[in-house]
């Protein structure tokens, strides 16, 4: 598994650089959001996690993605077991079972399952030799991914569960899904949403009602959306200044170091900061998809594109949520949000992409 010079030569430094820039911006925003509170040293923990994540990035990049894909079924099986374990044995934290305690660390298996899903789906579709795929070809991988999503949704963690879908759809799309089928899938998603409505829990329904009209409950379910919009809007063009945003500093902004970390950035760094951060995210996504284009095989392209779709969905949803465009869901912002598993999986994802890119000329 030695890394030869040719591999190092093909490292995408733009991708690595912009990813680390985002991760470090996240550390700064976490500092701003928590330095005056009960856990003022959270940013140091996050910094250490970024460091550890960078090592994980290198380690992942060093693994040949084809060796990884050969063990796709193993990864899938391990994912199912881990998720079952979480459901059965994990402690209840904030009303959910998401984390496994590992020697003082909380590990969130669902974050790593996203990577495994990308590899697994890519493997399934790249093994298929069909030029054109129909809906029928989606059934088996769809069921497999659906099982993972179901297990995650049971934690409950609907946000992360939904994140698996773009991976499946993007890879199927690249693998040659008929345009008719693409349209059918789109229609089906709308139908599922409609049918799922009666199954939603009351608090979830309330969230959607108040998303449509936050003034229904300004102190309750609408609170997060209103406060986030106020934070974002009050940032103006240039922002209130680092660690100067009243919404973040005085605690009006909910989950400000985790899911709403982008609100802190928007409040304190303003529209200009937002444009820079979104630019970096676009750059990351763009470079990933470039990597997919340059990949030497379908497997590599699918792994990278699937992962990019998952990350892209999560970034767009989280930022849209911060801007009040979509209902509030517990979904961290990749690379920036506080959280060990999220940072780890984000950086390992970059490593996975590098693994493909570095081997574009290798056998």
């Amino acid at each position: 598994m030695a890394i030869d010079r040719r591999l190092v030569y093909n490292v995408d430094w733009v991708l690595v650089g912009s990813s680390l820039a985002l991760a470090l911006t996240g550390v700064a925003m976490i500092y701003s959001a928590t330095h005056g509170g009960r856990t003022p040293n959270l940013y140091l923990k996050q910094l250490a996690l970024v460091g550890a994540g960078s090592l994980a990035l290198v380690a992942t990049a060093a693994i040949d993605y084809r060796r990884l894909a050969d063990r796709a079924m193993l990864l899938y099986g391990a994912s199912v077991v881990a998720l079952l374990y979480v459901l059965r044995f994990a402690p209840v934290i904030a009303g959910t079972r998401r984390w496994i305690l590992l020697g003082g660390f909380q590990l969130q298996p669902s974050e790593l399952v996203k990577l495994a899903t990308a590899v697994f789906v890519a493997k399934v579709f790249s093994d298929s030799r069909q030029e054109v795929l129909g809906l029928r070809d989606l059934i088996v991988p769809g069921a497999a991914v659906g099982l993972l999503a179901l297990l995650i949704a049971r934690e409950p963690d609907l946000g992360t569960a939904v994140c698996l879908m773009p991976i499946l759809l993007a890879v199927a799309f690249l693998a040659g899904l008929r345009m008719r089928a693409v349209a059918a899938v789109g229609t089906a998603l709308v139908l599922v949403a409609a049918l799922a409505w009666p199954l939603l829990k009351d608090y979830q329904k309330t969230r959607i009602y108040t998303f449509l009209d936050p003034s229904l409950d300004p102190r309750g379910a609408g609170y997060q959306k209103i406060q986030s919009q106020i934070a974002v809007g009050s940032g103006g063009l240039v922002g209130r200044g680092f660690a100067e945003g009243s919404q973040a500093q005085l605690g009006y902004l909910p989950a400000r170091h985790t899911d709403f970390v982008f609100s802190v950035l928007a409040e304190e760094k303003g529209f200009l900061g937002v444009v820079v951060a979104l630019g970096l995210y676009l750059l990351v996504l763009w470079r990933m998809l470039e990597t997919a284009r340059l990949a030497r095989d379908r497997l590599g392209a699918f792994i990278v594109a699937g992962h990019a779709a998952g990350v892209g969905f999560q970034v767009v949803y989280n930022v849209a949520m911060v801007a009040g465009l979509v209902p509030v869901k517990g979904l961290p912002l990749p690379l920036m949000s506080y959280g060990g598993s999220s940072v780890l999986s984000s950086l390992m994802g970059i490593g996975l992409v590098l693994s493909v890119r570095m081997r574009r000329f290798a056998n």
Binding site: G233, F271, W286, A295
Partner: protein, 600 residues
């Protein structure tokens, strides 16, 4: 070696994904532009509202001073417990905790919290003790929505003395909150609710300041953004003389009644007391409902300011008006005499005199001095009701005096038109006979009668009584009474004290002019049936001014159920005048001036 795969479809579709990413990110940028740049100012305001709370800094009300600068009403610092949160759950949670911390009933706290207006603090306990403050301070972290404010509280060092004149403060009422006069005041504000405090509320209140504080999402104060110091209410100098007021209060100790003393030249009120009174200190922090109920239902009406709200038959004090009217109308001259056999048969009725045996033949001076009814029956018959009413009204009866106090009543001066309008019956001559001696329908407040005394004292000026020395529009009105008339009436009033019914108000060194009176409260027949029942005894009146030649004080004294004015009211007036002229007996045991007072 593997065959290179055909990646053209993949690459084409990747381009679509890339384009999708660009479009989505661009859409987000547009939304942020909209929120941050287009609507940034709006959200900035919302953020400001979020983080800042307005804390009122109550302006101390202006002090009330007597004419010599002595403090009548002032302020003392006190603690208010206020709640800032608007969230219903937190208010719900607070009610119980505050009740236990402050030792107050939970229901009363809930009731106060229910009155909270959004974004305004609500006071849950006024004048909290140091123990309350300590208890809250200890729970500061669990009760971040609760804070303690230091506010100036009204303090009445004289307690019940001059209570009706000075008035009281209390929490602004629901009705006042709605009225434009009190706009910009929050629920729980203290405003004047009676007396000078009410009438001059606006002037006394000053302007509240504020602190705009930064609070975190739990309501905990993190800093101060802005402060505007309160502007103290200016102090107000009253015409009251604290020493004289004290003498009035002492003279009325244990008695029901009232007295008001005026500067006869200006109408400035030198002293004013109505008893029984109440202690305005009880009201400043919200009066205890039980105490309020007992005050409001007390048959001795401690809340009523008898000086301006008590309508009494003027009795024989009305003879001052009748005499002035008859002289001015030219119906009698000072030398005019009538014969008093002790009664007068007229209009098929027998009208009695106070002296059963009769006064014999007397002129105006002796008629006033001895309060001869028959003489004034004759005067009344000649005046008729129209001219009597005209002069009574001219001298201030039947309409409020316009004193700078709230809720003054006007009393009643009957006339033929008035009776026809109200009862649809004509006026009878016999009624005029009664009215001429101040009985029958006529009624007046003690302040109106003090003003009548002042008219004679100052030579015909109808003063406007007032308590605030700088009050505007209080110039006296010249009634244009001939000096000879004034002299004749004054001669009668001097004789009242010098040799007549008011002798108990006499001094050796100062000449007092006065007029006694008694106001029947029940029909004569009933009084004769049980002559000693205290509650049906007539009220005793005494009008006076002194010194008779250059008066510095004019006064009306009314002692409820005091039988006759000479018996009950004149001695009270004597005690008050003694203080005014520095003739009061020094307190026992104290070295003082030799006793100049002469009693006979």
């Amino acid at each position: 070696m593997r065959i290179y795969e055909d990646l053209r479809v993949v690459q084409a579709r990747l381009a679509i994904l890339q384009a999708t990413a660009v479009v989505l990110v661009a859409a987000l940028v547009v939304q942020f532009w909209n929120l941050q740049v287009v609507r940034g100012r709006h959200f900035r305001e919302l953020a400001e509202n979020n983080r800042s709370r307005l804390v009122t800094l109550a302006a101390p009300r202006g002090a009330l001073l007597d004419r010599n600068g002595r403090v009548l009403v002032q302020n003392r610092p006190s603690f208010n417990v206020v709640v800032n949160s608007d969230s219903p759950e937190s208010l719900d949670r607070l009610a119980g905790r505050l009740a236990s911390a402050l030792g107050v009933g939970e229901a009363s706290i809930r009731e106060r919290l229910a009155r909270k207006q959004p974004y305004r603090p609500v006071v849950v306990k006024t004048d909290a003790t140091l123990a309350d403050v300590a208890a809250l301070e200890a729970r500061r972290l669990e009760l971040p929505e609760v804070s303690v404010e230091v506010v100036p509280l009204r303090s009445y060092p004289l307690a019940s003395a001059a209570a009706h004149a000075l008035g009281r403060v209390g929490e602004i009422s629901e009705r006042q909150l709605q009225s434009p006069e009190y706009q910009a005041l929050a629920a729980g504000s203290l405003v004047g609710q009676a007396g000078v405090e009410y009438r001059y509320n606006k002037e006394l209140m000053g302007r509240d300041g504020f602190r705009r504080v930064i609070v975190n999402s739990r309501g905990l104060e993190m800093g101060e953004a802005e402060r505007q110091a309160p502007e103290d209410g200016p102090s107000l100098t009253l015409s009251i003389d604290a020493k004289l007021q004290g003498a009035i209060e002492r003279a009325f100790a244990g008695r029901a009644g009232c007295a008001v003393a005026l500067d006869p030249a200006t109408g400035e009120i030198l002293g004013m007391a109505s008893t029984p009174a109440y202690d305005p200190n009880e009201f400043t922090t919200g009066i205890d409902p039980e105490l309020w109920a007992s005050l409001a239902t007390d048959p001795r009406t401690p809340l009523i300011n008898r000086v301006i709200q008590g309508a009494y038959s003027p009795g024989s004090t009305f003879k001052v008006i009748a005499a002035t009217a008859a002289l001015e109308e030219g119906l009698i001259r000072p030398e005019t005499t009538f014969y008093c056999p002790g009664y007068l048969n007229v209009y098929n009725t027998t009208f009695h005199c106070s002296a059963k045996a009769g006064h014999g033949t007397l002129d105006l001076r002796r008629a006033i001095a001895n309060s001869c009814n028959v003489y004034f029956y004759q005067v009344g018959i000649r005046l008729e009701i129209s001219r009597l009413a005209k002069w009574a009204k001219r001298m201030g009866l039947g309409a409020p005096t316009g004193v700078d106090l709230p809720h003054e009543i006007g009393g009643l001066m009957p006339s033929a038109e008035w009776k026809l309008r109200l009862f649809k019956t004509p006026w009878y001559g016999g009624e005029t006979v009664s009215v001429a001696i101040g009985q029958g329908q006529v009624s007046a407040t003690p302040l109106q009668m003090a003003r009548v005394a002042a008219v004679i004292a100052n030579g015909g000026l109808l003063v406007r009584p007032h308590l605030v020395r700088s009050a505007a529009g209080m110039e006296p009105v010249n009634l244009g009474i001939q000096p000879s008339t004034i002299e004749a009436v004054k001669a009668g009033m001097r004789a009242v004290v010098a040799e007549g019914t008011g002798w108990r108000a006499r001094f050796q060194t100062i000449e007092v002019a006065g007029k006694t009176g008694s106001a029947q409260v029940v029909a004569k027949a009933r009084l004769e049936k049980s002559p000693n029942a205290p509650e049906i005894q007539p009220h005793g009146w005494f009008l006076c001014f002194a010194p008779a030649d250059r008066p510095t004080i004019a006064m009306a004294v009314l002692v409820e159920h005091g039988r006759s004015g000479g018996e009950s009211a004149a001695p009270v007036a004597h005690e008050i005048l003694a203080e005014w002229f520095g003739l009061a007996k020094p307190p026992p045991g104290a070295p003082g001036l030799p006793d100049l007072e002469a009693e006979d």
